[in-house]
């Protein structure tokens, strides 16, 4: 790769000898290149993150003061519902699929994903799915407003948006399943000949397990929403008590999907963090094999704990006890991971570049979210927390300072490899401190609001909650602005900046650091063996 680059050259002139398809349509719409598709996924996810974030701003604006100031209660409920659907299915999941597309082939020495054409398809379904979902905002009756959990009978009472919601969810499910099959096929068949399963980086491992979760539970969600559709339009009574059905059944089916789903959103984050911390601690990951087993254990447990979301629906005592103990068991493999990250840092020669800062914040703040999770696992006290802001605080700690922080950390970590330029470290650090302080101002007071009894999904509240809500809103606006700043940092890095070396980070292990920066359009084309010494876990067998 003999690049002849000057900084002011525009991007597409760089890689003519890479045989990139010419023209916008051929390059982006019809691409089968894993790097291009990864980029598309990441851009799409970020656009959805801003879209869903804008809805969060509407929510925080309305909650800035008690009373109704800016939006109607029904529109507020549309915002909470759409914010969740867009962030879960449009931002976090596609962002991880984008990282998987970019990194997995490069991490295992594969030339591309196993099924490149399906890869293109699974991405290009997504804009259509979200166009269908978002179109309901402009319709008579508005967007779905019954919560992202789509509980009947409420979700069926909101007009015809339920049909759009169901078909959008179907499309997202098809996209996720195709993406997951692709990841599994790539990891199982496309590894360089001398790369064994226990040589694979942890990001690849966590994605393999995530992909299994996806193909197991996305069909369950599709089935559940299909039954909602037939209940609404075709006279069935799956969830209709008047016709002999049971609305609680929907909750069981939904959470049988929903609990593995939350691990779908966090396991790849564990993988990203497990790549970053060893690099900046300059030590191999502590307890690599135990990390793999812990990930598998979390995935298994995720299938048998679903009813802890439903402690208040009225279950037999035995069931409450079972789901309580099974849920608390998840803390064991998760604890293994957290202690392994800490042990990796122990006596390491640590430096604190932006990806490492976000990873450290992840370890601390995700653990706070984990602790409130253990609190909610206790069935007797969960009756107090149920449907309050305590729950909102919990899942935002694990999803924003968990999943989203891991994605941001990964973006800073691999951006030099993707773009060929170093980001501005000073701006990165400003972004980090701005985000971390504001996100805590945003979500930490919500714990107290929840414990004091403020219910979620309500546009108004009684006056004793006013101060904490105002703090939370101020934190929210600041955090939202910080992510606009992130766009600027990424934009600036892609356009130019200090040239990145192939290794990028001093002593970084992993095959992605053996190819030049920016990564050439085609890598590892020869299917040949790779240098195991360059891999973090290359010599384990």
């Amino acid at each position: 790769m003999s690049h002849d680059i000057t900084h002011d050259e525009i991007a597409h002139d760089h890689h003519d000898h890479d045989h990139k398809p010419k023209g916008f349509v051929k390059r982006w719409l019809m691409t089968t290149n894993h790097k291009d598709i990864g980029t598309l996924y990441l851009i799409f996810a970020f656009a959805m993150f801003i879209f869903g974030g804008a809805m969060a701003m509407v929510i925080r604006l309305e909650l800035f003061q008690p009373g109704l100031q800016f939006v109607e209660p029904d529109f507020f409920n549309q915002m909470t519902t759409m914010h969740a659907l867009i962030m879960v299915f449009g931002a976090v999941m596609p962002a991880f699929v984008g990282l998987a597309n970019w990194m997995i082939p490069m991490m295992i020495g594969a030339p591309d994903m196993a099924l490149p054409r399906m890869n293109n398809w699974s991405f290009w379904i997504l804009p259509f799915a979200f166009a269908i979902l978002s179109s309901t905002l402009f319709m008579d009756g508005g967007a779905p407003a019954g919560g992202w959990t789509m509980y009947p009978p409420l979700v069926l009472q909101g007009g015809h948006n339920v049909a759009y919601l169901v078909f959008a969810v179907h499309l997202m499910g098809i996209s996720s399943i195709m993406g997951a099959i692709n990841v599994i096929a790539t990891i199982m068949n496309m590894r360089a000949p001398n790369v064994g399963y226990l040589n694979m980086p942890l990001f690849v491992w966590t994605w393999l397990i995530t992909a299994f979760l996806l193909i197991a539970v996305m069909p369950v969600l599709a089935g559940a929403v299909t039954m909602l559709l037939t209940d609404r339009y075709f006279d069935t009574s799956f969830f209709n008590a008047a016709g002999g059905g049971d609305p609680v059944l929907f909750q069981h089916i939904f959470w049988f999907f929903g609990h593995p789903e939350v691990y779908i959103m966090i396991l790849p984050a564990f993988g990203v963090i497990s790549e970053i911390i060893p690099t900046f601690a300059r030590k191999p990951l502590f307890g690599y094999v135990s990390m793999v087993y812990a990930t598998a254990a979390i995935a298994f447990l995720s299938f048998i704990v679903w009813a802890h979301h439903m402690f208040s629906v009225g279950m037999p005592l035995g069931a409450e006890l079972y789901f309580m103990y099974a849920t608390m068991m998840i803390a064991v493999p998760t604890g293994v991971k957290v202690f392994n990250w800490v042990a990796t840092m122990w006596k390491g020669s640590m430096t604190f570049e932006t990806p490492m800062l976000f990873s450290l914040a992840f370890v601390i703040l995700f653990t706070i979210g984990g602790f409130s999770g253990v609190m909610m696992a206790l069935a007797p006290v969960d009756l107090q927390y149920h449907d309050t802001y305590f729950i909102v605080a919990h899942f935002h700690y694990v999803l924003v300072t968990g999943a989203v922080f891991a994605i941001i950390a990964g973006a800073y970590y691999w951006l030099p490899k993707w773009s060929g330029h170093m980001y501005n470290e000073r701006l990165g650090k400003i972004h980090f401190w701005w985000s971390t302080i504001s996100v805590n101002v945003l979500f930490f007071p919500q714990h107290f609001l929840g414990l004091a009894g403020m219910p979620r999904r309500i546009p108004d509240y009684s006056t004793q909650f006013a101060e904490f809500n105002m703090w939370s809103s101020i934190g929210g606006f600041a955090f939202g602005l910080a992510q606009v700043f992130f766009i600027y940092i990424v934009w600036k890095t892609v356009r130019g900046g200090e040239k990145a070396t192939a290794e990028v980070w001093e002593g970084a292990k992993g095959l992605e650091w053996t190819v030049p920066s920016p990564a050439p359009y085609h890598t590892f084309e020869d299917f040949g063996p790779v240098d195991l010494d360059k891999m973090a876990h290359g010599k384990t067998h």
Binding site: I177, I215, V220, A224, M227, A241, G244
Partner: protein
């Protein structure tokens, strides 16, 4: 070639898993009903039992509470005549609910019973109930709705209170809605 075969195998196996999981959702419907029958999970009351009336009675009493609600689609007033009674398990008892149609059109309603705690529903049977059939009320008509029930003498001692609850649904509305589902909007 080897690689391509491997990929094909992965895709085939994955698709089988996807189809199997769709089947699993379908299976969950009957499975849930069976589990509820065994455990009383959803509080649905069991089959009508006339031959359950035996001479065997328990030596303690339990409190049975009565509760009645109407679904918001139904323009009726509906409540139990008596809010609770002390019963001896094994004996047959009768009570009544009162329903009145407050609309100016005739409306058909269907009551759906539920017993809490769910476990108690396994020991609760009705020999006669207004919920067995649809009920038609003329405009303004008021009607007494009788229930006769028996609590089995096998009921565990730790259940001291059980609640029988009815929700009345609008049968007309359901059929009308099913007939004309192409209306632009549903007024709830």
């Amino acid at each position: 070639m080897q690689r391509e075969l491997g990929t094909r195998k992965v895709v085939r196996t994955s698709l089988v898993v996807v189809v199997a999981m769709v089947g699993f959702v379908g299976l969950m419907i009957p499975l849930y009903d069976i589990i509820c029958d065994i455990t009383g999970l959803n509080g649905k009351t069991g089959v009508v039992a006339t031959e359950d009336v035996t001479n065997q009675t328990a030596d303690h009493t339990i409190t049975v509470q009565f509760d009645g609600t109407v679904n918001s689609d139904l323009p009726w007033a509906f409540k139990p005549k008596q809010f609770s009674m002390e019963v001896i398990p094994g004996k047959l008892y009768a009570t009544e609910y009162i329903a009145q149609n407050v609309a100016d059109v005739a409306v058909t309603g269907q009551a759906v019973p539920s017993v809490a705690p769910g476990q108690a529903s396994l020991y609760f049977s009705k020999t006669e109930c207004f919920c067995f059939t649809e009920q038609l009320l003329q405009p303004g008509e008021e009607k007494n709705m009788p229930v006769t029930f028996i609590v089995s003498s096998d009921i565990p001692k730790d259940i001291e209170v059980l609640t029988l609850s009815y929700t009345f649904f609008n049968k007309n509305k359901m059929t009308a809605e099913q007939a004309a589902n192409n209306t632009n909007h549903d007024n709830i």
